[in-house]
Assembly symmetry: C2
Homo-oligomer: 789 residues x 2
C-alpha cells in the first residue's frame, strides 16, 4: 500500500480501533446491561435488561463514521453536523457523544466515571430513560429517524444559508428505499456552493432491513455507481470488513471527499462560478452488526438480517449470557477505561474540542441561534375596505406583496425562505420573486426567469422534499413559510406528525431552545378547486393537525386579505407551533378594514355587528362561519333572510382562529364557556358554515351547552369539475341551503318552511340550468354584493 | 437514413401525422371550444368556453405515444394498458380513445359524427362533464393522475400475475420529482419475467412544470442515462421536435423496446432463467406544447412553461381568437374528418380492434375480471377460548396461519398478494411465507430465506410503493391485504384519499364494475409501541379514513384473535371499500370463543353479558371499549369495581365495528337510535375506553341522546419509551383511571370518590416505582386475569 492509501499511522490505527471498540462496547452495553457496565463482576442475568431494544445492526457503522468524521474535524476544523438516518441508531450516537464528553455536559448526572456509565447503560430504552432513536434528547441531533425517509432533506435544509456548515448525513440502505429519500438526492440541484454549506451523504450499505435484504445492496456495483452519478454525485466506494483495512480506506475516502468539498467551495467563492459541481458522496459497504457475534445458536448473524435489532434476546437460553459476556469482552473494556471508569485520555484525544464536537454543534440546537424576522407593518399592505364586501381582492396575492418585503428586509440575514411544490405562482405569491429568485443550480437557458443559485424561493415538485428542507432549516434556527394546494398537503401528514412529536419532546428537554414555527398556507382550497376536480378537493388536513398537542396545533381561517395579513405575521412571530392557515387565492369580497381585521383576529372569533341585527339582544338565530367561501355564503344567506324576514334577529359570528371553538380546558385558545355561551347563546339554533368536514365542528364543541343546536354545513366529500358555486350546492354549503336550514330551525319561522323549501328548490333548478348552458355561475351569484349599510 | 432508422414508409408517415393531428386537434378543441367543433363556421367568442382548463403542455406527447403504441399493438397483437402519469392529460387520452371508437361504445351519446364531436368538446372540463384527468370516466384508465407520483407503481401493480399484459406507463418529468415516483423505478426488482407481465416506462421529458423547469430536463444526458441505468433499465433516448424525424425515431425505439421485452420474457419462460433482466425504458424529450403556438403576445410559448396549461386564456384579447383559429386550422380538420364529422377510415385504420384497443383493455375495468377468493373456514383456525381471558394469544400470529392458507388456496389463481413495508414478520404474519416466498428478483445469496421471483409476499421499505402496487393490483381485478405499523400508515394518507375518491366516482360510472376492497391491518399499534417510543405511537389513521364517504370507509377494532379472523375474512369478501382493521400482535387475553366472536362481529357492537352484572335491568354505569388494549383495561377496571362495589350494576359494551357508533342516517353501519339508546341508556354515565384519539368518539356520537354522558379515554398524544401499561397510564386509559372516572360519574358512589382517588394515586405510585426499578410492568399487571365466571 502507498502512503496515499494508508493515511493512518500504526499508532493512529491502534487508537482508532480503541475508540471504535469503546463506542461499540458502550453501544452493546446500553442495549443489554442494567448494571455492571465495565464487566468488573461476573455478568449475571439480573444485570441485563428484561426487554432488549435498540438496533445493533447499524450501530458499529455509525460509530465508525463518527470517528472518521472526528478525524477530519480535528485536522481541518470543519463545522460538521451529524445526521443519523438509520432507525434506532441511538446506541451508537449516544455512545459517541458520551465519549467526546458532550453528553455529560448536557446531562451532568451521566458522569465520566463508573457511576455515569451505570446511568448511561441503564437509561437506554428503559422506562423513564431515552429512546432508541437519535431523539431531541440526543446532543447534536436535529433528526429523530423514528420514521425513515427524511435524513437527507433535513441535512440539506440545515446547510442552506449556512456556508460554513457541512452536514454529514448517514443514509441507511433501508431508508434509501423510501420515496422521500429517493428523490431527496436531487437536492444538490438547489444548493449554492458559495452561500450555502455542503452535505456529505454517506450511504450505509449494510445489506438488510428488519427481515429482508435491501434493494441497493443487491444490485451490481456498476448499477449502484451509475445511480449516484445519475443523481449528480461523485460516489466514493468504501467496501470491506477487516477493520484495519477499512479504517485506511475510510480515511482515504474522507480525505478525498472533504478535499473535494473544499475545492468546490473555494472555486465557487473565489471565482463566482456557481455552476453545479459534482459533490462527493461516500458509499460504505460493511457487514450488518459488524464485530458482533458471527453466529448465534449456529445461525448466521453478523452480516445478516439477524443482526438488525438485537442479535439474540432470550438471555435465559443456554450459552446466551456467556455469549454476551464474550462479545462485550471482545472490545477489551479494561484497555479503554481507567480504574474510575473514565475513558483513557489518549483515546479521548481523538475527539475534537468544544463546539467543534458534532454533538455540540450550535446549529443542532437552532433555537439558540434564532433571530426574529423583521416584519414590515401589515397596515402598509392593507386592502382599503370602506364598506364590507364593497371591494374584491385576491387574498394571497395581497399577502404576496407583504411576503416580498419580508423577504427583502431579511435577505441580508439569510434566514428566511419560502417553499412550495411548484405552486408559488399558482398560489399567487409570485411577488416574492421580485425580491429573490427561485433557488436553482441545474442547467439554465437564457430565456429562463427567476432562477438562480442564490434564490430563496424553494420549489421542487415534491411536497416531501419541501417539507424536509423546511424542517431542517427551522431546526437550525431559521424561518420559513410553506404554501401548498390544500388537498395535497396530506402528502406530508406523517412528516407533520413527526415534527409535532419532535416539538413536544424538545419542549421537555431543558437545553433545547424554541424554534420558529412550521407555517403552512393552504390555498387553492377545496371550494375553489372546482376547475381541477374531485382529486384536488380535500379539506382534511385541519382534522389531522388538530389531533396534535394543544400547545402545538393552530388553525386559522382568515376570511379576507386583511385578516390573512394579520394571521400570517402572527404566525411568523410564533415559535414551536404548527400553524395552518387556509385562505383563498381567487377574487372574493373583502369584509374588514385593517383596523377591524386586527381587532377581529386578536379575538380570534367575534360577532360581526355590521352584518347582524340582534343589536345586543338575544338573537333568534346565530349564523356562524369559518373560512372565506363559508363566510361569503353565510352573508349571502343572511341578506336573503333579512330581506324576506326583516324582524328575524340574526347574529353573525365569524371564526378566524378555529381552536377558539374548543373548551378552554382542552386548548389554550379555547373560549371560556361564558364567552362561548354569550356568543352562541344557550339554546338558539346556530347554522354554522364551515370550510372543512362538518363533523370537525361537532368534535370541537361537544362540551358546550348549546352543542346540540349547532347545524354544521361543510364539505361532504362531494366534488367534481364544476363551477365554484355549484361546489357549495353539491355540499349544501350554499346560501340557499343555509337559508332553508335556518328557516327550519327557528321555531317562529315554522310556518314558512314549506314555502322556503320550494323557493330554494326553484333557485337551485334555475342555477343548474344556467350552469349547464353557460358553464359558469349565474351573474347574480358571481357578482353578489353585501348591500347592508 | 437506413431502413432500420426509418421503419415507417412515406405513406405510413403521412397517416401517422394525420392521426396525431386529429388527436391534437380534438385536444385543443376540447380545451377551448363549446361548439363549432370542426371549424365549419367562423370561430366566435361565444363558441369558446368561459373558463379554459386542461393542460395542453403534455397532451401532444401523450397523443404521439398513444399512436406509436397502437402501431405495436396492430403489428404484434400485444395487450397493452396505457397509464398516463402526467397531470391533466385527459384532453389527449380522451381524444385518442374517441378516435379509436371506444369512447363512443362507452358513452353512446358521444357519437362518431358532428353531433358527437359537439358533445365531446363541450363536456370536457365543463360543469356536469368530465374532468381534466384520466379519471374513472376515461375508458382504459386505472390511474387518475390528479395527484402525482403513483403512475409507475400502479403500472407494476397491474402487471403482477398478468403475464400477457404490458403496462405502457408515461411518467411526466414533473411527476418524476416526487418521492413516491422516484423510488418506484426500483419495482423492476420485484417483477418476475415469467409469471408477471412487463412495464414499459416512458419518461416524458418536456422540460417544465407549472412555472419551473424540471430537474431531469436540466441535467446532462450522461447523468440522465446513468440514473436510469442505475435504476436497472436500458434507457432508449428519443429526442427532437421535427415530427417526421421523431415518428421514425419513436418507431425505432418502440420496436427496440418491445423486441427487448419479448426476448426477455421468452428467455425467462422458455429457459426458466429468472435472473433480473435489464428491462427497456424510453425517454422522450420533446417540446412542451409541441405543435402549439410558438409565441403568444411575443412571448416564448412552445417548448416553455407557458404551454403547461393553456397557452393563452383570455380570448377577448386582440388577436387571441384568431390565434386559436389558426392553431386549430393548422391541423387541417377538413382533411381528417368526413362531411358527417366521422374520422376518415384510413386514419381510423391505425387503431387496433376490439379489446386490443388500449381504451378497451379488459384489465382496465378490473372489477369485471375479479373472481372471489377461496377462503378457508375461520373456525379451523380459532383459538380455543373456554373462559373469557382464560388463555393468551397473539392475534396477528393466529391470523397469519389463516392468511397462509388463503394464500395457499388461491395460489393457482394468482390473484392474491399480501403487502408490507418490511414488516410482515414483525407484524407476526410470518406464516404466509410457508405458502409463498417474498417476491424478489434482485441478487440472492445461498443463505437468503424466502426470496424468489415468483413470491406473493410484497415487501419494500416504501409504504408508497406497497400502496401503489396494491392499488394497481386491485384495480385490475385482484385481491390484497396490507399490514403496516399503525403510526406509519399516515405516510400514505394522501394515496388513500385519492383511491377513495376513485372508488366513489367509479361507482357513479355505469360500466365500471366493483373491485376488491383496499384492506389494511394496522398492528404494532400505539399501545404496544411502548418500546419503540413516541415516533411510533399514532392512532390517527382512523380519523383520516372516517372522513371518506360513508359507503366506502369501514373501521374495525377486533379485541382478540377470533374476532380478528372474522373481521378479516369479512373484509376480504367485500368490494369497493377501504377497510381498516386495528389489532394487536403481542400476547394478550382472548375473550370470545369462535361462536361468540361470530355473533359479536356480525352485530359489530354488543353487550358482553358475561362481564356485566346488570342482568337485563338498567345499569348504573356503562363501561364501553373499542380496541384490544382498551378492552383489557376496561375488563380490569370492571373487575376492580365489582370487587369493591358488588351492588354496582355495570354493563360492558364492546365495539368491533366503530362506525356502529355513528347515527344511522350518517352511515349504513350506524345503529338506529333505539338500539343505541338501549345499549348505552338515555342518561347513565358511559366510560368509554377507546383505541384512538378520544374526541373521535364524540364526533361520531354527537347526535345521540346520551352523548353528554360519554367520558372517553384514549390517546392524548403522550408517549415515550416505556412499558405497555405505563403507556395507558400516561394517557389515562389504564384500569385505575377508568375506575376513578367511573366512581366520579355514578351519583351513588359520590361519597367514595375521595377514597378512590387516593387509592388510585397509591396504585400509580406503586406502579411507577416498580417500573423504575425493574423496567417492566408489575406482575399483577402483566399476568392479570379476568376471574369472573
Amino acid at each position: 500500500m502507498t502512503t496515499q492509501q494508508t493515511p493512518l499511522s500504526a499508532q493512529e490505527l491502534a487508537l482508532f480501533n480503541k475508540w471504535w471498540g469503546a463506542a461499540n462496547y458502550l453501544s452493546v452495553a446500553q442495549i443489554y446491561l442494567l448494571a455492571n457496565p465495565l464487566l468488573r463482576e461476573n455478568l449475571t442475568l439480573e444485570q441485563t435488561k428484561p426487554r432488549l431494544l435498540g438496533h445493533w445492526g447499524t450501530t458499529p457503522g455509525l460509530n465508525f463514521l463518527y470517528l472518521h468524521l472526528n478525524r477530519i474535524i480535528r485536522e481541518q476544523k470543519k463545522s460538521i453536523l451529524f445526521v443519523a438516518g438509520p432507525g434506532h441508531g441511538a446506541p451508537g450516537v449516544v455512545a459517541s457523544t458520551y465519549l467526546e464528553g458532550t453528553y455529560t455536559e448536557y446531562f451532568p448526572e451521566v458522569t465520566q466515571d463508573f457511576e455515569g456509565l451505570e446511568r448511561l447503560v441503564k437509561q437506554f430504552s428503559f422506562p423513564g430513560g431515552i429512546p432508541s432513536h437519535a431523539a431531541p434528547t440526543t446532543p447534536g441531533s436535529i433528526h429523530e429517524g423514528g420514521e425513515l425517509g427524511y435524513s437527507l432533506s433535513h441535512a440539506f435544509g440545515a446547510v442552506f444559508d449556512n456556508p460554513d456548515l457541512i452536514a454529514a448525513c448517514v443514509v441507511g440502505d433501508g431508508e434509501a428505499e423510501t420515496g422521500p429519500l429517493a428523490t431527496s438526492w436531487h437536492s444538490n440541484k438547489f444548493l449554492n456552493p458559495a452561500t450555502d454549506g455542503a452535505v456529505l451523504p454517506i450511504l450505509h450499505l449494510n445489506g438488510y432491513k428488519i427481515a429482508n435484504p435491501t434493494v441497493l445492496a443487491r444490485i451490481s456495483s456498476d448499477e449502484l455507481l451509475a445511480l449516484f452519478r445519475g443523481y449528480g454525485y461523485t460516489p466514493i466506494l468504501v467496501e470491506g470488513h477487516e477493520p484495519d483495512l477499512m479504517h485506511q480506506k475510510m480515511a482515504v475516502a474522507m480525505d478525498q471527499a472533504f478535499a473535494s468539498i473544499t475545492a468546490i467551495q473555494k472555486k465557487a467563492r473565489e471565482t463566482g462560478d456557481l455552476t453545479r459541481p459534482l459533490w462527493p458522496m461516500i458509499i460504505m459497504r460493511s457487514p450488518k452488526g459488524w464485530t458482533g457475534p458471527k453466529t448465534v445458536d449456529g445461525l448466521r448473524t453478523e452480516g445478516y438480517w439477524r443482526s438488525h435489532q438485537v442479535p439474540f434476546s432470550d438471555l435465559t437460553k443456554p450459552g446466551h449470557l456467556e455469549l454476551l459476556g464474550e462479545w462485550l469482552r471482545s472490545y477489551k473494556p479494561e484497555t479503554l477505561f481507567d480504574e474510575k471508569g473514565t475513558l483513557l485520555p489518549e483515546i479521548r484525544a481523538l475527539a475534537p474540542h468544544g463546539e467543534l464536537r458534532m454533538s455540540a454543534n450550535p446549529h443542532a440546537n437552532g433555537g439558540a441561534l434564532k433571530r426574529p424576522l423583521r416584519l414590515p407593518d401589515i397596515k402598509d399592505y392593507a386592502v382599503s375596505v370602506t364598506s364590507p364586501g364593497g371591494v374584491n381582492g385576491e387574498s394571497t396575492r395581497v399577502l404576496g406583496t407583504w411576503l416580498r418585503d419580508v423577504m427583502r428586509d431579511n435577505l441580508a440575514s439569510r434566514n428566511f425562505r419560502v417553499w412550495s411544490p411548484d405552486e408559488n405562482n399558482s398560489n399567487r405569491l409570485g411577488a416574492v420573486l421580485d425580491a429573490t429568485p427561485r433557488a436553482w443550480d441545474a442547467e439554465t437557458f437564457d430565456y429562463d426567469d427567476h432562477l438562480a443559485p442564490d434564490g430563496h424561493v424553494m420549489e421542487i415538485l415534491s411536497e416531501h422534499t419541501c417539507q424536509g428542507w423546511l424542517e431542517g432549516y427551522l431546526l437550525t434556527g431559521r424561518h420559513g413559510f410553506f404554501s401548498c394546494y390544500e388537498a395535497f398537503i396530506h402528502i406530508v401528514d406523517s412528516m407533520v406528525n413527526q415534527h409535532a412529536k419532535w416539538l413536544k419532546t424538545a419542549k421537555e428537554v431543558p437545553w433545547r431552545r424554541p424554534i420558529a414555527s412550521l407555517n403552512y398556507l393552504l390555498t387553492s382550497h377545496v371550494w375553489r378547486q372546482d376547475h381541477n376536480g374531485f382529486s384536488h378537493q380535500d379539506p382534511g388536513f385541519i382534522d389531522h393537525v388538530i389531533n396534535k398537542k394543544a400547545d402545538i396545533a393552530r388553525v386559522y381561517l382568515p376570511p379576507d386579505a386583511n385578516t390573512l395579513l394579520w394571521v400570517t405575521q402572527h404566525c411568523l412571530k410564533s415559535w414551536d407551533r404548527v400553524n395552518v392557515i387556509v385562505a383563498g387565492k381567487q377574487p372574493e369580497p373583502q369584509w374588514l378594514s385593517m383596523d377591524a381585521a386586527i381587532k377581529h383576529c386578536k379575538q380570534g372569533i367575534g360577532m360581526w355587528e355590521w352584518a347582524s341585527n340582534d343589536e345586543g339582544s338575544e338573537p333568534d338565530l346565530v349564523m356562524a362561519c369559518a373560512g372565506d367561501v363559508p363566510t361569503l355564503e353565510t352573508l349571502a344567506a343572511v341578506s336573503i333572510l333579512r330581506h324576506h324576514v326583516p324582524d328575524l334577529k340574526i347574529r353573525v359570528v365569524n371564526v378566524v382562529d378555529l381552536l377558539t371553538m374548543m373548551s378552554h380546558d382542552q386548548h389554550p385558545h379555547g373560549l371560556e364557556d361564558a364567552e362561548f355561551d354569550s356568543l352562541f347563546t344557550l339554546d338558539k339554533p346556530v347554522i354554522f358554515a364551515f370550510h372543512g368536514y362538518p363533523q370537525l365542528i361537532h368534535k370541537l364543541i361537544y362540551k358546550r351547552i348549546n352543542a346540540r343546536n349547532f347545524h354544521v354545513h361543510g364539505f361532504r366529500e362531494e366534488g367534481t369539475t364544476t363551477t365554484p358555486f355549484d361546489m357549495t350546492v353539491l355540499n349544501h354549503l350554499d346560501r340557499y341551503h343555509l337559508v332553508l336550514n335556518a328557516v327550519r330551525r327557528v321555531p317562529k319561522l315554522a310556518d314558512r318552511a314549506a314555502y322556503a323549501a320550494q323557493a330554494v328548490r326553484d333557485k337551485l333548478v334555475e342555477h343548474r340550468l344556467y350552469v349547464d348552458a353557460h358553464g359558469e355561475d349565474m351573474p347574480e351569484i358571481r357578482d353578489w354584493k353585501w348591500l347592508e349599510k
